[in-house]
Symmetry: C2
Subunit: 396 residues, 2 copies
């Protein structure tokens, strides 16, 4: 059987995350590893009511095959929301409903990437994107991100030698690092790509989860003809429905529709109708504020605990939103080695390696604050601090 | 933008079906074109009850991210059913829940097909499979199917010159032709592929919809180590949830899981739980019998009408199940040309071309009997007979 596999599947990095999640099942372990939204905020009762209403209104219409584009009223809602919250003019015809925004990545890879095509990737960057694109065997062109966004000098050096066809970004509260691109950084990135044969992906699952700082400009505003927007209901409503969307220019949308049809015909019509009903009947902004207040508090608690328990030589980001922050160990300390020590101290995180397409034994790690309360954060960060100190002592 | 598209997407055949479905929206047109299950049989009330029960039992557990493999109790139900209905021993660990069985095709193409790899394809064959596999740019190795299954002499000729890595079959009530492989034909096909480095796909969305004849052996029984089974809840429960599954050997399953994760993480956990609850609480066999009785009657009505209204030189299949039958016009008559005449007579069907990877102006056509009552069948087939006669007169 082994000889039968396509080359593309052998290039996909194996997910270390699955192993971590197994460790995290032990209830004595404190986990900052997961990437899950906090289930305390899932609007289960409201979704149950929306489901009953959808059955009552639409009956069997909920249950038949449907269009590849997705449910038009839901696409209209998304278009309206882009106008209201970001001042962006997006037509419902430019929106494709996807089975989670992960599928948007797969469809974009499918439609745009020939083997060896250049793909500009944030380093560190979202591991699900690295996985999705690896299938199509691009050349990863990695550009470091720092606290302000892409490191422009590095971007310039890469563009001097490469012509990426795709550029992948998570400019708001990035997974894994929690950083956001400043407006000046967005403008600089847009300037570099404007007019080039390159599509920029703005993947924005966390954009609504801002707990400090000021809103920034979308790349769609800066590079309207070259930007694809990805969005998701996973972080602000629920993830289990697998509902996301993408916004793409017309010519690209025609190809994406062909790919969508060939891939799974269409996304569940039933769940689209339920979410649409939920959005009609509930104040999504109030719901988001509840989530943001909690995540903001948890993020501040984690940073305060790190200030108390981590050696001063450990650096970390201070996100304005989202679910993650990112720590950098003193030079030479491997986060993968720290992971083993941390398990002994009964705390886990995700080592940085899977967030790079090309790195091993990096000294970075991702910490998630979305699903842990303040007391758990205090205990877990204290344990992690102890593990770091042990590692540093062993090394010196 | 056009210069940016990947080669693979330009190879995917454009779907003529979308155009047909637009024509079919006109209420004065009788449509035998659709491939939809009959919505009269959607168990909307039972699914609504199942949904309420699932919310009551599982609450927020319904709504979180879940495993790529799919909901274990649903996989167990599928395994049990293989044992009960076909005597097949399938482990739940060998089952992957997919977003419709269309996604099974995409994942198999992704994991197995390098560009130029050989793909044995039924001619005619399921157009969704032709679309899904085209993305991965295989060499289509077409083998004709007749009333008994694959034409073995043609299969032998193809295998003398080609080594297909994948063989795609719909052995029960095939889409588009309605034909089924005989047991002898299955054994002959299995004999030809046994021990070769080739995976056979048995796509079986219609297998439960038998209204005459006797059950046949699964390829999984004949070629256990080389067969992948595809199944679907779309035809016997509802299509709108987009729920299917595949059964694959271990080594292949590991790769399929990587591909599934990269493609959309997992299929909606919510809809999996609802369908599982529905299956626990309802007699699915009784439900299937209701559908089968209706489809069987409609198929017989269509054949009887064709005997009355079609010229004797038109041939057609006589299916033992499923949703489709297949007609062949006298030599030289193009079904695509007939389509235009048929629209004038206010009846539509799907011309045969999209069911071949390599053919134009074929003289074959697909007729669906699943969604039309006896009176509509009588009027529609009379109109189609008239259109055929007009075409024949114009030609002679």
């Amino acid at each position: 059987m082994d000889s039968l596999f396509a080359d593309r599947i052998n290039d996909v990095p194996r997910s270390f995350i699955r192993e971590i999640l197994k460790v995290a099942l032990d209830p004595s372990i404190i986990s900052f590893a997961g990437g899950l939204p906090n289930r305390d905020f899932f609007p289960a009762d409201e979704l149950q009511q929306a489901t009953q209403k959808a059955f009552a209104h639409s009956g069997k219409d909920l249950l038949q095959y449907s269009s590849s584009e997705g449910f038009l009223p839901l696409r209209q809602w998304i278009a309206d929301r882009y106008r209201q919250t970001q001042g962006l003019e997006v037509s419902p015809d430019s929106i494709l409903i996807t089975s989670g925004s992960q599928q948007g990545l797969d469809l974009l890879g499918k439609v745009l990437l020939n083997e060896g095509d250049g793909l500009l990737m944030e380093a560190p960057g979202y591991l699900g994107a690295i996985q999705a694109f690896s299938i199509y065997r691009p050349e990863f062109i990695n550009v470091a991100v720092d606290g302000l966004g892409m490191v422009i000098e590095e971007l310039d050096r890469r563009l001097a030698n490469h012509s990426p066809k795709l550029a992948y970004t998570v400019p708001n509260f990035q997974n894994p690092s929690g950083i956001s691109y400043s407006d000046a950084n967005r403008e600089a990135v847009a300037d570099r790509l404007r007019g080039k044969p390159c599509v920029l992906i703005e993947d924005n699952p966390y954009g609504d989860l801002r707990f400090s700082g000021s809103p920034t400009r979308s790349f769609y505003d800066l590079l309207p003809d070259q930007t694809v927007l990805l969005g998701s209901f996973s972080k602000c409503v629920i993830p289990g429905f697998r509902l996301g969307w993408l916004v793409a220019p017309d010519a690209l949308m025609q190809k994406l529709l062909v790919a969508k049809q060939a891939t799974d015909l269409h996304t569940s019509h039933f769940t689209q109708c339920i979410v649409h009903q939920y959005l009609q009947d509930n104040d999504i902004d109030a719901h988001i504020r509840t989530i943001v207040d909690a995540y903001g508090g948890q993020c501040r608690a984690m940073i305060a605990a790190m200030e108390r328990h981590f050696p001063a030589s450990v650096h970390y980001t201070r996100p304005d939103g989202g679910m993650f922050l990112w720590a950098t160990l003193p030079d030479g300390l491997s986060a993968m080695a720290l992971f083993e020590e941390a398990v002994k101290q009964q705390v886990v995180f995700v080592p940085g390696d899977p967030f790079y397409s090309d790195r091993e034994n990096s000294s970075t790690l991702r910490l998630s604050f979305s699903c842990v309360d303040d007391d758990t954060i205090e205990v877990g960060i204290e344990r992690l601090g102890l593990a770091i100190k042990k590692m540093m002592e062993a090394q010196s």
